[in-house]
Amino acid sequence: MITRELKDLNIKIYEEDLDNGLKVILLPFEKRTNYALQYITRYGSEIDEFISSTTKKRIKAPYGVAHFLEHKMFEQEDGLDPFAFYSKTGTDANASTGYKLTSYIVEGTTNIEENLEFLINYVNSPYFTDKNVEKEKGIIIEELNMYLDEPENRLFDNNNKSVFVKHPMRRDIGGTPKSVSKITKEVLYECYNTFYQPDNMLITIAGNFNIDTVMNIIKNNKKLKDRKKIGSIKTFRVKEPIRVNRKEKRIKIKNLFLPKFILTFKKELKETKAQDIYKFKTTTDILLFSLFGSSSYFRERMQANDMYSLFFTSCGSVDNIFLTEFIAETKKVDELKDEIVNLFLNGEITPDDLERGKRVMISNEIIDSDSPFKIMDKIVDDLIEKNEMILNRIEIIRSITMDDLIKVRKEIINESKDNYSFVVAYPKE
């Protein structure tokens, strides 16, 4: 077992790779009553074409299959489903599917041993039948309908279709009512057998628990012992072009009452190491904080002129792409967009801005570190994205200089000043 320490935060993380390839990450937190267990596979909605590990055939799965599979894992042959089991001890069970991962989550205060054992067992016991697959379609289609009724989701969906040319982010994680209705138990087993293999998965535990106890359960679990390494999985992915798909898109949305827009600057992400990506992103965060943050001249001026009723910025990477986003609710759509573009390309930043920005980022890291669950989420993200852990976030923030800020800024401007997408949603009628 490898022990690592999060620098400046006095937090220890334990990591062990089992013989069958399963990775275990432990984050014990003494001053905590509850705990969270996660069983994660590196398989999300972005993978739809792959070579099956059992038949070796190339499979093209219907959109939304990873999410469907997540729902169906809760079905158990002996009838004791996870909700029924965990509710016996007042424990919460849940699951979620993202673009890159599917996670099975258990949160509780007692009975960690039995709860962990059950988690491992149920995720290792698929039970799909024609009948139970058919039954799930009604539930999932209603889930998709629920999201379709949220006006903001329509805006985000249109935005993804504008920003990305080929990337799976263009599609909803859950697929569409049409694609979901095509899913069969056969394709679920193909996906399960290919991606739910120990060397493609990890178990994380954060909160109040004893390391030896949980390791003992994981190492001696019979179902897990039977599973073997399968080696690398062949998936088919198209490379996302650097250019935006659509420069401008204006749509009307039902039940939207105030116009909203998303403005996205797109560029290539050149950094490959987790630490370098984190530094690039954090430098951009400081840039956005200085120019557009709550204590910026921009906000003071815009608010005084009633230029928006909501305004956020964010930035981050998706595979080989780096995005900087501006999201607003405003009645002065084009005026505000021009103000943003102008300031983003021409605004000045001072060393004082940098120092204030760094201080805010560091303070946020310390506050976040009060929650073992938040720390674990960051670790999992790093591992899934780059197979690395960042242990020195605060140190990286401290190291950012004015030169870094200028360099990052220049790079973003040069590469994305003519490469941005603008999506506006107006109320219908």
Partner: protein, 420 residues
């Protein structure tokens, strides 16, 4: 964890000492009897007080002063507890040991500026700040309609009883906003600062004596007398004939909201039995609604119930295709009827009790929940966590059946589902 409450002349000071967190949380709670007219004013007032202050009259100065407190976070929250309209001023700062200065002292002095020294001249609030916060309030009111699930619930409450506080929309009302001006808002401020019951909570790795002195120095309310207000709404009888309203709307899914009156609950039922009843019916992912209506019939993705002991209401919410409406209603009524007839297992009761206890145990992991728990003990005379854990175990099947027979569907509202 150690708790102490000190009754001051104009406010109550609650301090909780714990080393579980890296931050110190300060919560100043203003509480008074709710009226519909006060909601919009309260929203605008709490926003303007945390937008600028007399000492920091420009937004930039205000936000940078907060940043200088190691990026302290200060926000307000307006909410209703039965008959009460509460506003929290919630401040979160890093613990002194991470910043090597007396941050608590500086933070409380900032908060004191915000509360006692607003950005007012000539008996009017600052014009620029007023324009910004009223524009934001207006947008917040308009935006409410974008969430069809919440809109369905709000319409249902209005149909249930438009004069009851449970139907008040805490986002505010456009007509009240139009009536307001900078002078009237300042008049309201003067009333607000004097006529509310005030509770100050501080939780963190603090020293009681020292903290009390800092609070005394910074918080000088004038003339506030504690008023005893009954938080519970009066228990009303259900309608003889169930009220059912359907409103068309172009959504993919119908949003169903149901209000049930719970009549004449005794104290034990309000504090314990109702929670168990709700967990069994629709409060968890292992409830009757979830297991049967979602999993067995696959009619919906979400269906849940929630109980409010102060409002004497049980609320049911779900979303599904409109053609399944009558089937859904039939199944919801059937599950409720089954509990009335005692058609449920001892095991379901045991599970519900475990959920309740587990939720109580997890309170200690969140500063805000710890504060909320002590506040409820003080305000609602809720028993201690230990006592609650003991009492919940005493709930019997007979009591649940008795309670189930006091739950009556009163109003059913269905919104939309009429695809374009």
């Amino acid at each position: 964890m150690e708790y102490t409450k000190i009754k001051k002349e104009t406010y109550n000071l609650h301090m909780i000492q714990t080393d579980r967190f890296k931050t110190t949380n300060i919560e100043v709670i203003f509480s008074k009897k709710i009226t519909k007219e006060d909601i919009t004013k309260t929203n605008v007032l709490s926003s303007i007080m945390t937008y600028t202050s007399k000492k920091y009259p420009k937004r930039l100065m205000y936000t940078r002063a907060l940043e200088n407190l190691y990026s302290a976070r200060l926000f307000t929250n307006t909410y209703r507890i039965g008959n009460l309209l509460n506003v929290d001023f919630n401040m979160r700062i890093l613990d002194d040991k991470y910043v090597s200065c007396n941050l608590l002292d500086d933070a409380l002095s900032f908060l004191s500026e915000v509360i006692f020294n607003p950005n007012v001249s000539d008996n009017k609030f600052d014009k620029d700040s007023y324009n910004v916060v009223t524009n934001e309030e207006k947008a917040q009111i308009e935006r409410f309609r974008e969430d069809s699930r919440k809109y369905s619930l709000m319409k249902m409450y209005e149909l249930l009883d438009k004069d009851s506080p449970c139907s008040y929309n805490l986002k505010g009302y456009l007509e009240d906003l139009e009536k307001l001006d900078r002078e009237k808002l300042y008049d309201y401020y003067k009333e607000f600062i004097k006529c509310n019951n005030i509770d100050i909570f501080i939780i963190g790795d603090i020293n009681f004596e020292k903290t009390e002195k800092i609070v005394e120095k910074n918080f000088k309310f004038k003339g506030n007398k504690r008023v005893i207000i009954e938080p519970s709404l009066i228990s009303k009888k259900h309608r003889e004939v169930v009220q059912e309203v359907i409103e068309d709307d172009y959504t993919n899914q119908s949003k169903l909201s149901i209000a049930c009156r719970i009549e004449d609950m005794n104290k034990f039922e309000k504090n314990y039995v109702i929670n168990i009843y709700n967990f069994i019916l629709g409060g968890t992912a292992d409830s009757k609604f979830f297991k049967n209506i979602r999993e067995k019939y696959s009619l919906c993705y979400y269906i849940s119930s929630g109980a409010n002991k102060l409002d004497n209401l049980l609320i049911i919410s779900s979303g599904f295709s409109k053609e399944n409406y009558s089937k859904m209603l039939f199944l919801i009524k059937k599950e409720m009827e089954d509990i009335r007839k005692g058609l449920f297992e001892e095991e379901e009761i045991e599970k519900a009790k475990k959920y309740y206890i587990s939720a109580l145990d997890a309170i200690n992991d969140s500063e805000n929940q710890i504060i909320a728990s002590y506040y409820a003990m003080d305000l609602l005379k809720t028993e201690s966590i230990e006592k609650r854990k003991e009492n919940i175990l005493k709930v019997t099947k007979k009591q649940i059946v008795e309670l189930a027979n006091k739950v009556y569907i009163d109003t059913i509202f269905l919104l939309g589902g009429d695809k374009l």
